[in-house]
Amino acid sequence: MKTAFFALLLTVSTLFPGCAREPNDRTADGRTIIEYWEKWTGFEGEAMQAVVDAFNASQDRIFVKKLTVSEVDQKLMLAAAGGNPPDLAGLWSYSVPDFAEKGALIPISGLLAEKGITREQYIPVFWDLCEHRGFMWAIPTTPSTVALHFNKRLFREAGLDPKRPPRSLAELDEMAEKLTIVEVTRSGTSKSVRFAELTKEERDTKDFSIIQLGHAPQEPGWWIQMWGFWFGSDLWDGEQTITANSSENVRALRWIESQVNKYGLENLRSLGASFGNFSSPQNPFLSERVAMVLQGVWMHNFIDKYAPHLEWAAAPFPSEDGEQMPNVTIAECDILVLPKGCPHVNEAFEFMCFVASQEGMELLNMGQKKFSPLAETSKEFVRDHPNPYIEQFINLARSPNVKTVPRLAFWLEYRDEMQVAADHMLSLTASPESAANHVQDRVQWKCGRVMRRWDLTRKERLQEWSEYDAR
């Protein structure tokens, strides 16, 4: 019987150790340990670790233990569902609506007000990204905006002025043609010529191969689902209707399609297949095979690492109507959240406040080579910043035409559907109208389901959040 008892004990003990919360949440010197899950690795992880170390050094009450977690959003969701979340986690701003509506986060409006942290202290767009349904759910940490990055040397070689980037999409098209070099067979011999110099017949037959490309929306294509922003689209009406098939979005899809029609489907595919990984010297912009790309503030880090001699500059990505709609950009940020059920709310929030301070923000964002989401930054921060165009990115964040992803709980699905619409344009398998209508039907149906569920739970949720905030 004794043996049987031990066998049973062994079974139980092998099954349950993972379920237990670590009983000891104190350091040897009696400080409360805050468990913090973050997604960053490499120099970005080191920058956050420096902030954590600075905080820990300033404390005799709290000790933050940072843990690098991959796919942090999925793991956090499951940990919160299992009732065993960390005290603090780093997510993305687009996660806020989904996580908040599903009750995975603690609202922090009350805590922020108590500490006197207000919207006025931030660049507004980043504060707003952390707000949903009238409550604050996070604080911004590392922000980003996107801009046109262009190769000044290739501009000069094409006879373009590197100090004069394109100001409208029509100009971008025109410059791209001059920057594109193709190999074409003329009188039996192979010749390299600029696309702009091709004959009408050569353009029509598309019997050439691309050696160097001016610009293509699919390189890197990370924001191709939101291309409508540069045509004045907003993707939804802010209430219960999405606007995937608005005339602006259809025009954006048509523009993407026009690029493929111009340079040739197979020619672009063949060129795309020859590009190396983004984070490598074979990155097409870094290896000078694509002259202009839409990229974020982080691009400088990769230029610095893989192509330090690249002559580049950054400028606002031009919109359809450059005069009426200047400085269009997409703003996003990484955020810090308190998961529902986190054991040490006040201590974790104290660390959040430290990160949100000017000192914390500048330490973190200088380390990650981004800019601070705070409205005020020290002179030294901009002066000493390694990215020569950092002010450009800050100004874009303050632009009246700054755009964000729709604050919808089903944004990821919406994004995937828009990606499919863009794929149709890139492979010429559907018309812009039918692709946009398909997204509209499918996502609006989804929107209806989510909104119905929200209507059913709205009262209960708002009351729960208000009560939490009041505490």
Binding site: L10, Q74, K102, E266, D416
Partner: protein, 295 residues
């Protein structure tokens, strides 16, 4: 039952309790729970809300669901027979008394031992439209415009089918074991009767290993309808135009990316029914073709 027998029973149960507890907690409970959740609007975090058969009826109007089912069946219909025939042919060849046979066997089994992520990364390069080994070979053969395997929607599924043949090592090993069980006396008799190699394969080898072919067929049906890892690693959300969005990938997206666990559970049950039906059809249609010694 005497006291001693009861004690023995208890002892036995105690020793297999890790399996029993594991089975109850990690297999039976999730299966039953998934059935319940398939009738709910459930996102893991909030309380499931009973919605009847809405998830199932939604599925019939969900064009992406049908596309994923089509992609999966397309893959299965080609990859399964291709895998079965290739592995059988390789196994028959590896069963021949040739020099270095063990080495060849090891070489053919080796790909099955390589982790799926590593295999996928290698294939990403092999299938690269410009620098890939495959297209380089095709160009050497005079095909000037070989396909952009992973960028062209019409070539993504064929690429993954091609890759699936790479992993037939396990089936080869099973076939080899079966081939070695075929009594030599049958071949000797056939030799005396002047049978050709093809006739020996057709009338001796295939009937004698038919139970193993059947086993590989059933496992193949199950495996090919659940194809996930390579497609997910190499083509993420389903590749261009969702041309390689397989059923299991769409199920995963719904469960863990879109957090529609209820819908994903319903999809899992539909997949179960599809596999059950196809297995039943395979069993029925092959019953007379399988030879079990002693029956």
């Amino acid at each position: 039952m005497t006291r001693g027998e009861r004690q023995k029973l208890f002892l036995g149960l105690a020793f297999i309790s890790p399996w029993i507890v594991g089975f109850l907690m990690f297999t039976l409970y999730p299966v039953v729970a998934s059935m319940f959740y398939s009738f709910c609007d459930y996102d893991v975090l909030t309380r499931p809300v009973w919605i009847g058969t809405l998830n199932y009826s939604d599925m019939f109007t969900d064009s992406v669901f049908w596309k994923s089912l089509y992609n999966t069946l397309f893959f299965a219909v080609i990859a399964l027979p291709l895998g079965l025939i290739t592995s059988l042919l390789v196994a028959v060849l590896l069963n021949q008394p040739v020099k270095g046979r063990s080495l060849f066997r090891a070489i053919f089994f080796l790909p099955s031992l390589i982790p799926v992520v590593a295999t996928s990364m290698i294939w990403l390069w092999i299938l690269n439209g410009n620098f890939g080994l495959l297209n380089h070979g095709l160009k050497c053969l005079g095909i000037n415009h070989p396909p952009q395997w992973l960028a062209d929607p019409s070539w993504t599924k064929p690429s993954l089918i091609l890759m699936s043949v790479w992993g037939v090592g396990n089936s080869i090993v099973i076939y080899l074991a079966a081939l070695q069980d075929v009594p030599r006396s049958l071949y000797e008799s056939a030799d005396l009767d002047g049978a050709t190699a093809w006739k020996k394969l057709r009338y001796i080898t295939l009937p004698m290993i038919s139970p193993v072919i059947y086993f590989n067929l059933i496992m193949g049906i199950i495996g090919s309808l659940q194809v996930f890892a390579q497609a997910y690693i190499m083509l993420g959300g389903g590749g261009p135009n969702r041309s390689a969005l397989f059923y299991a990938v769409y199920l995963y997206q719904n469960a863990f990316e879109y957090r529609q666990m209820g819908y994903a559970c319903a999809m899992a049950w539909v997949l179960f029914l599809v596999i059950l039906f196809l297995t039943w059809v395979a069993t029925k249609s092959t019953r007379r073709l399988i030879y079990y010694a002693g029956e």
